[in-house]
């Protein structure tokens, strides 16, 4: 698969390290193989040089000539609606979730665990009832092997059918 994200003028990148960590900025110029000039007028990042290994490239790109002034970068940023697009992206949402998870207190973690186990209980109950119903009406194992009492079919070779059913979920 070819590369899709390049270090180029107008590429929006997430600053992964340093004092501006976690903010978006756009590449304005390339200084050399390891450093670029960035500017983030839409995210309060002053114009500065940054090492490329501190940047994570995003899929977004805005158009402006290289070494454009902050005013032009700001205009392009606004027109491309980078801030909205970023906050809608999966990446940003995952970052947000990660942050939230890290900020949980011990009691919050306990509550989350409880809620999860509750949800899983409801889900597995629903699954079992569906499996039971479908094994009885022959939708799961065929009409010949229809289970009468429980949800297990009358299998002579062993419980292979059971395993495949569990895997489906």
């Amino acid at each position: 698969m070819p590369f899709r994200r390049f270090v180029e003028t107008g590429r929006i990148a997430l600053i992964a390290d340093g004092p501006q960590k976690g903010k978006l900025a756009s590449i304005v110029d390339i200084i050399d193989q390891t450093r670029v000039l960035i500017d983030g007028p839409g995210s309060n990042v002053p114009r500065q040089q940054v090492r490329l290994n501190q940047l994570h490239l995003t899929k977004f790109r805005v158009k402006f000539p290289y070494t454009a002034s902050t005013r032009i970068v700001r205009k392009a940023w606004k027109e491309a609606k980078i801030n909205e697009k970023w906050s809608d992206s999966m990446w940003a949402k995952k970052l947000e979730a990660k942050e939230k998870r890290a900020a949980l207190s011990d009691f919050d973690r306990f509550k989350l665990r409880r809620a999860r186990s509750m949800r899983n209980k409801i889900r597995s109950q629903a699954f079992f009832s569906i499996r039971k119903a479908s094994s009885r009406n022959g939708a799961l194992y065929g009409k010949k092997k229809m289970a009468k009492g429980g949800d297990k079919p009358k299998v002579k070779k062993g419980g292979k059918a059971e395993k495949t059913a569990a895997k489906k979920k």
Binding site: A102, A103, L104, S105, D106, F107, F110, K111, R114
Partner: protein
């Protein structure tokens, strides 16, 4: 990371150049022993060329007399005597004075500090002792500096106990126990280990006496009941009482990729 350049150590503070004070040298240290003005500069600034080859007669101060000659009456006394104008000390101690040293700080004089995360009503996670892993309620700090805690006993079987704050993680969760009254009898002496007197020699075999195992006294049981009732009453006032109940009842534990130094409590 790029290596940072070593900064030159800043030396003495520069004297205010706006308000030159009399008696302060105009020359100052720039740091590393280098001075602002060179020797020749100073030579010209001070106009030292004016004084080259000139000799100034040193002013002589009149020397004060240390002794005085006094006439002495009587025939065989030599008529006069040299006397010191300033009297010598009349007492020279033979031993050094015993100076008072500051008294050694006793344990009772130590300052008792409490971690800021721990306040009355905070839920703590115990890290040591037979109840480690339990989540308990912190009641107050005792005179010895130890923390007074309770499970409550009814919820997680942790009785009224003392524990050092070193062996505890303070969580952000708090119960409002401002209205809770703890019996005044519960203090450090309350928790002291009881020492039983040794049986006297004359009575029976030494080997036949058995060690008595620890039994909870009725007093403690009664106190536990009182405190439990108060604390559970405080928990019930909390809007999340049901979850809190379950929270206190469950043990703390770490899952995979959970690091306590990176977690918030």
């Amino acid at each position: 990371m790029a290596p940072t350049e070593p900064k030159p150590a800043t030396g003495d503070k520069k004297p205010d150049e706006k308000k030159p004070k009399i008696g302060k040298p105009r020359n100052y240290d720039l740091g590393n022993g280098i001075y602002r003005f060179s020797r020749t500069r100073v030579y010209h600034k001070k106009a030292l060329y004016k004084f080259v080859g000139k000799k100034v007669a040193a002013t002589k101060k009149p020397v004060k007399a240390l002794t005085a000659v006094k006439p002495i009456g009587g025939e065989k006394n030599g008529e006069k005597r040299v006397v010191l104008l300033k009297k010598r000390r009349n007492y020279y101690p033979t031993e050094d004075k015993i100076s008072k040293r500051p008294a050694k700080k006793c344990f009772k004089q130590h300052k008792r500090s409490l971690r800021t995360s721990i306040k009355p009503g905070t839920i703590l996670i115990l890290l040591a002792g037979p109840h480690k892993g339990k989540r308990v309620v912190f009641l107050k700090q005792l005179y010895s500096g130890l923390l007074l805690i309770t499970g409550p006993f009814k919820i997680n079987a942790c009785p009224l106990r003392r524990i050092s704050q070193r062996y505890v993680i303070g969580t952000q969760t708090r119960i409002d126990i401002s209205g809770v009254k703890i019996p005044d009898t519960i203090d450090d002496t309350y928790f002291r280990r009881e020492r039983k007197k040794r049986a006297k020699k004359e009575e029976g075999d030494i080997f036949s006496t058995k060690k008595e195992s620890y039994k909870v006294s009725d007093q403690r049981k009664a106190d536990q009941k009182i405190v439990d009732k108060e604390i559970i009453g405080a928990i019930k006032k909390n809007p999340e009482r049901k979850l809190l109940y379950a929270y206190l009842a469950t043990m703390f534990g770490l899952r995979s990729s959970q690091y306590p130094h990176r977690m918030k409590f």
